[in-house]
């Protein structure tokens, strides 16, 4: 057999692990049922509006912070691991609950550092816009290696937070992660985490761009918007933490 004759004879692999569920559908979907950039951006707008609405509730009723955080975590896990198809119903609820959580947390920071909330909001959206510009212009090119390095960094940060969380039950915790620790080492770690969170946005942009190019099903617009939302919430929290450390000095 020569020159792809095997492919011509047997066709593409039917192994679902290789097709990953989308390849076969994407080509056959009518245009109106395919994912578009417009749709993903509009859905991100809806999620951001819901997040702001939730934040107003969380700001006024801080007691809802922890329940909202738990509900948001469960909804996030369900969306990622169980039902991407239902992202249209889980993602708005996720955005609302995360908004309530962010409202409560922001109020706590604002009580100690006046004006920190607007600084963190401005910086979060500033980073979002500037990285989008870098991505669209081709200044930052996400590759497989970029994704692997970022994945490893996120894994490391996750383990660090998990260890700190477990230690907190025994009255300890990693002091470098504490928002009240204003040492240069602590600020440096926070800055590194902000950089990792910001670069994750580039992967989200690329995910949406590739999804729209390959004509994935419409519900992936919600999933793309959801993944952008997850990263934005993380980035905002890390910027709040970084600013509080800097202002504690």
């Amino acid at each position: 057999m020569s020159k792809h004759s095997a492919l011509n004879t047997f066709g593409r692999s039917a192994n679902p692990a290789f097709t990953r569920g989308f390849e076969s559908n994407a080509q056959t979907l009518p245009l109106s049922e395919r994912m578009t950039l417009d749709g993903a951006v509009n859905k991100t707008g809806i999620l951001l509006s819901l997040c702001f609405a939730g934040a107003i509730v969380g700001w006024n009723i801080p007691a809802l912070t922890i329940p909202a955080a738990l509900i948001g975590f469960i909804l996030g896990m369900v969306t990622i691991f169980r039902s991407k198809e239902k992202a249209g119903s889980t993602a708005p609820l996720y955005a609302l609950s995360q908004g309530i959580m962010l409202g409560g947390i922001t109020l706590m920071y604002e009580n100690v550092f006046d004006g920190i909330a607007i600084q963190a909001i401005g910086l979060t959206f500033g980073i979002l816009a500037s990285l989008l510009l870098c991505y669209k212009s081709g200044l930052i090119k996400p590759t497989e290696n970029f994704r692997l390095m970022l994945g490893a960094a996120i894994g490391g940060i996750f383990i660090l937070y998990l260890v700190s969380f477990i230690m907190s039950f025994f009255g300890g915790g990693i002091s470098l992660l504490s928002p009240t620790n204003s040492s240069w080492a602590s600020i440096g770690i926070s800055l590194a985490i902000v950089v990792v969170a910001a670069l994750s946005l580039v992967l989200d942009f690329d995910y949406i761009e590739e999804g729209a190019e390959k004509g994935l099903p419409k519900y992936m617009e919600w999933y793309g918007a959801f993944s952008l939302m997850v990263t934005l919430v993380w980035l905002y929290l890390e910027i709040l933490r970084l600013l509080s450390k800097i202002r504690s000095r």
Binding site: I118, L132, G138, K141, P142
Partner: protein, 61 residues
């Protein structure tokens, strides 16, 4: 002053996001060989053209 600067930055950034987000990325970004291939489509550049011969264990001896 703090609120005006950072509030303005947030509004301007959102404006940029909602406009630029709907624009397709540049050719420099989309037409390259090392893009992440998330959805399982083969990259034509990764297919090596050539003849394939069957190798038997007996032929090695």
């Amino acid at each position: 002053m703090n609120s005006i600067i950072f509030g303005g930055l947030a509004i301007l950034s959102l404006f940029v996001f909602f406009n630029l987000g709907k624009v397709k990325a540049s050719k420099k970004q989309t037409d390259r060989n090392n893009r992440i291939n998330r959805f399982g489509e083969l990259n034509p550049d990764n297919i090596i053209e050539g003849e394939a011969d069957e190798v038997n264990e007996n032929d090695k001896d």
